[in-house]
Symmetry: C2
Subunit: 209 residues, 2 copies
Amino acid sequence: MTETESTGRRHTRDDVARTALRILDDHGLPDLTMRRLAAALDVQPSALYWHFPNKQTLLAALADRIVSHGRPVATATASTATAPTDWMHAVRSEAAALRDALLAYRDGAEVVSSTFALGLGSTAAVDRLASAVALGGFDDHTSGRAATALLHFILGHVSHEQQRMQYDSFGVVADGVTASSIDEDDPAAAFRFGVDLLVGGLEFSRSRR
Amino acid sequence: MTETESTGRRHTRDDVARTALRILDDHGLPDLTMRRLAAALDVQPSALYWHFPNKQTLLAALADRIVSHGRPVATATASTATAPTDWMHAVRSEAAALRDALLAYRDGAEVVSSTFALGLGSTAAVDRLASAVALGGFDDHTSGRAATALLHFILGHVSHEQQRMQYDSFGVVADGVTASSIDEDDPAAAFRFGVDLLVGGLEFSRSRR
DNA sequence: ACCTGAACACCGTTCAAGT
DNA sequence: ACCTGAACACCGTTCAAGT
């Protein structure tokens, strides 16, 4: 019932990250403070700085866990032979998997977004998207740029989506206008639309040369 | 030389926003605190809450100013007759103008991004993008979704770009690897690439039906 | 209409010292 | 190897009261 994890006393870096992830998921990013995390671990705030140099690094570790949520452990099997024409499907499902991973934790997109902007970790997401695009025969430069464009859209979209979720749960609905503007409804469809736009743009650029 | 604006004593809501914008541009978002803003205005922190109910609202006001930077005052002239096939050009230049506006202030993209995610203001940007897309003959629903997709990409890209600027100015270059990964070079080109992907995707979706 | 003074309830981070 | 205790230098926000 309480939030403390008093199992054993001394903690590992992994304990800290896991507890932080639980606070994030239960109470949201604004409530994930070093002091609150320390309290949940039954420890002084200063103790956390033995495990992580600062909060930013902690958040980067959380971002890595969020992004690799529900992912195979990447065994070194030969590259799974995807049908060469099915790169569009690959990109779409890679994007959908990433969205699912972000949605699996409260404020997940914002956490990943902030650490991505700062260039810390989270390269896994771009790499997977870039690989999927590369299946279409695009060069590395193009695949990389397309992947970051995809990631920017995904992070922006899911952040927006998650922000709206908690705005709804305890929201100012009493404002008359239901405020459901153009595509606030069916976020999954709006997500697919955006991904398809980028995927279609790649196909279009190919047909143009 | 100092940051105080001791001109007259009593301030207006506009003074507050303008001074905040200057602190943002000179020192960045982390340094834009209510206390620092108050000091710059030669006033107690509590005085700010007469002009704005909270910091979030202040930031939304700043976002509005940033987004409409370098913009005509929207005179009610008849819709400028753009060549019907030139909607792509319209979208591209609308996107470029938005990027320029965001780049005109330090951390501009992050400020706009945060208020956009919260659904406060900044509808001007989406509206302009949607109008440009609509020139292509797409229905409102499609135009709206394309506009938000564009905005998500733009905000993510420029945030990243601006983060990298101050990371460079005082950065950890001594880390061996020059870290210039796939498209950290020439951000303007990477930006155009992303916009073209989305624009191309729209054209592709039209050819597909 | 616009601001002061004083407080409340917090933050992240450092650092000597303990076991 | 992992943590305590105590401090430093801050935050955003509220609210009675002043002019």
